[in-house]
């Protein structure tokens, strides 16, 4: 049974869905990171390091969504 049929690039839709979570996550990380730097400017080096680390680990989810269409080609 076909509930709905989809034409065009499913991979693009998949990437769009995969980008929602990491988008929110990266926003939170940098938002809170900037807030922390504003509160404690002398801890900038430590905060920057952890900010980049958190950003990188969150971004990985979006990147997995980006490569998934290449791993599972439709045709």
């Amino acid at each position: 049974m076909n509930v709905a049929e989809l034409f065009g690039s499913v991979g693009a839709i998949g990437y769009g869905l995969a980008a929602i979570g990491p988008g929110i996550g990266v926003g939170l990380i940098f938002g809170l990171g900037v807030q922390a730097i504003a509160r404690q400017p002398e801890a900038y080096n430590l905060l920057r390091q952890n900010m980049i680390l958190g950003f990188v680990l969150t971004e990985a989810l979006a990147l997995i969504g980006f490569v998934a269409p290449f791993v599972y080609p439709t045709s």
């Binding site: 080096n45 980049i52 990188v56 990985a60 990147l63 980006f66 490569v67």
Partner: protein
């Protein structure tokens, strides 16, 4: 001869998305990452990215050799520049992540950082204009080297049983949680780590190259191939090409930094046990 073939190959790669016969606008796709072999040595077909990888290696080795073969107490211009890069990796990556033990791994991290950066930087250098790291094989090999190293170091510093025990059963957590935590930790360290390490660099460079190629093709198509009001889009595409090139240069440094940073984090997690 090699220089001309390189130039021709890059011209060919730039023109590939524009199909003259069919007409109309064709956005560049994955075909811009496939190159015809330039020549072959004993059945091994050598393509443009391979030549560029050797070229990049030669640049890094020569730069560091020329700058630091005869180090002077008062450094010259080149030595000062190279030392700036070296101290950046040593202080901001090795020492701040791994700590005092980090000095041992500085040569590896410096090599990784500059090698990845030069390979990324080729994306914006005229005539080369291709990030070698956007072919998955190059980041994959670098990630595998780091992967084997941190597993070796973990077993060396914590023992074969201790390493996996510390990885899967970190102390100070309620017993029932280990049922979920242990397999998750194992999968994330052994399987997901090398995968994301390689794919992060690959995907960023891949996406960046497609983006620049897309805006460049847009500018070319609407300014050269068509007449009329479309030129507004063409000019916008042209401006965006320049803007994205600048943005990519920033992303290239950032990705080289992140690749090295993660290598340092993985090494740190192996040489030191969390308490």
């Amino acid at each position: 001869m090699t220089a001309t073939t390189l130039a021709l190959a890059s011209l060919h790669a730039a023109e590939a998305p524009l199909d003259e016969e069919e007409g109309g606008f064709h956005a560049p796709g994955t075909e811009i990452f496939n190159f015809d072999p330039l020549f072959s040595i004993g059945g091994l077909e050598v393509t443009k990215p391979m030549v560029m990888a050797f070229f990049g290696t030669a640049i890094v080795v020569t730069l560091f050799y020329v700058a630091c073969a005869n180090p002077k107490m008062v450094p010259g211009k080149l030595q000062a520049l190279v030392e700036l890069g070296y101290t950046f990796v040593r202080d901001d990556i090795a020492r701040s992540i791994i700590g005092k033990r980090g000095d041992k791994y500085v040569p590896l991290l410096v090599s990784l950082f500059f090698f990845v950066w030069i390979l990324n930087l080729f994306a914006v250098i005229p005539l080369l204009q291709f990030p070698v790291t956007s072919r998955i094989a190059y980041p994959a090999v670098l990630a595998i080297i780091v992967y084997l190293l941190f597993i070796f170091l973990g077993i060396k510093h914590q023992g074969p049983v201790g390493y996996f025990k510390n990885m899967m059963f970190p102390p100070g957590i309620p017993k029932p949680v280990y049922v979920i935590l242990a397999p998750l930790e194992f999968i994330s360290t052994i399987l997901v780590r090398p995968f994301t390490h390689a794919v992060r660099l690959f995907a960023n460079m891949f996406a960046g190259h497609v983006l620049i190629a897309f805006f460049a093709v847009t500018a070319y198509y609407f300014i050269v191939e068509t007449q009329g009001l479309g030129i507004v889009i063409g000019v916008a595409g042209f401006i965006m090409t320049i803007a994205m090139t600048g943005f990519e240069m920033f992303i290239q440094v950032l990705q080289a930094f992140i690749f090295t940073l993660l290598a340092a984090v993985y090494i740190q997690s192996s040489v030191e046990v969390d308490h």
